[in-house]
Symmetry: C5
Subunit: 99 residues, 5 copies
Amino acid sequence: MLLGRVVGTLVASRKEPSLEGLKFLVLRQLDVEGKKTSGYRVAADAIGAGMGEVVLYATGSAARQTEMTDRRPCDGVIMAIVDTLEVDGDVKYDKARDG
Amino acid sequence: MLLGRVVGTLVASRKEPSLEGLKFLVLRQLDVEGKKTSGYRVAADAIGAGMGEVVLYATGSAARQTEMTDRRPCDGVIMAIVDTLEVDGDVKYDKARDG
Amino acid sequence: MLLGRVVGTLVASRKEPSLEGLKFLVLRQLDVEGKKTSGYRVAADAIGAGMGEVVLYATGSAARQTEMTDRRPCDGVIMAIVDTLEVDGDVKYDKARDG
Amino acid sequence: MLLGRVVGTLVASRKEPSLEGLKFLVLRQLDVEGKKTSGYRVAADAIGAGMGEVVLYATGSAARQTEMTDRRPCDGVIMAIVDTLEVDGDVKYDKARDG
Amino acid sequence: MLLGRVVGTLVASRKEPSLEGLKFLVLRQLDVEGKKTSGYRVAADAIGAGMGEVVLYATGSAARQTEMTDRRPCDGVIMAIVDTLEVDGDVKYDKARDG
């Protein structure tokens, strides 16, 4: 899994029928310090993440291992909202503090 | 999923028999602002995307999760046509405006 | 899928038994203009591609979706030989012209 | 598989229900000499790895081939703790010496 | 598949139980000319490769398509030992000559 921050939304009225009802969010990929990078991913939201939140997302076939994404042409899913991230002994991100 | 713009087509008369009838489009990969990058992908078109349209595409095993691509040696599929993309509070792409 | 040009061959007498009979070709990865890059891939040949031809290849689990590669430890397959590639309105490659 | 060093932890109270009970660790990706790179991965811990340990992790669908991660939206798993790494005839890492 | 040279070994006494008995080798990734790059991969050895040999390795789910790696959390496998590699009409590697 990688870390991302929810930075955007996307509307698509014409799509594969099986995607109906799935919500897609735009994630900016974060580095291990929680800082933004140039990478991004559009991911299905399985847990109701909100704009600005730091999340954990899975890619590849793992992205279909939720009830919402099962058997759908989806290769990225948000599977957790991060409360705190601690790296090298420092709290790099604390939702209550930085969120 | 990543964002791409349909920029080309490809004709291949000699191919794996199971690919017969699949339409392949050439996508230029876009960044999170909707700007073109040097990356590209050739993807099967599951929804009738047109030249110049901004689409969402899935790669890997997800690309086989459509009726059209099921059990075929295909690792990229266009699964949605983007109407609007909003990032960091700005509308980066609006099909009606920029399409 | 990505575009590649067949540039080489590889002989391997000691291998996983299930690979017996599979032909492996060396592909130089091409960019969206059909120009060569530094990337490459060794892929199983499912359709009888020849030296110098421009092909379309699939990677990952898609590479096992042919009769020839089914259930084999193979992560890249040539699934189509490109006749013409048209990008941004220009014919970037035409087998009859450039082949 | 790639080499990583356990450098951090992550708390996520809101997550996909099937992830309940899984422990996620933050890994800094190491190069072939055992030196840290800018890459990282958040991985499920299947074996009880400790802070600072050098581990081997698998990504993609392989990450679901443990009892703990089976059928869960998880794309990275720690599957071994490295005791010694020897490359080009030199011991690049020895847990007893460097751990 | 990509080309690699066997450059090292790795000992891991604590690991996922299903990995018991698997031998892991450290591969330096080679470019299309057979020259070493900065990339590497730790792969399971399905065929008894030796130190210094040039091999072909598969990654992703393909790595579990051998009897030895089936249903194990393994994302890289050595599936062939290269005898000769010919690219652009030149023999870039010949085991008998360069091995």
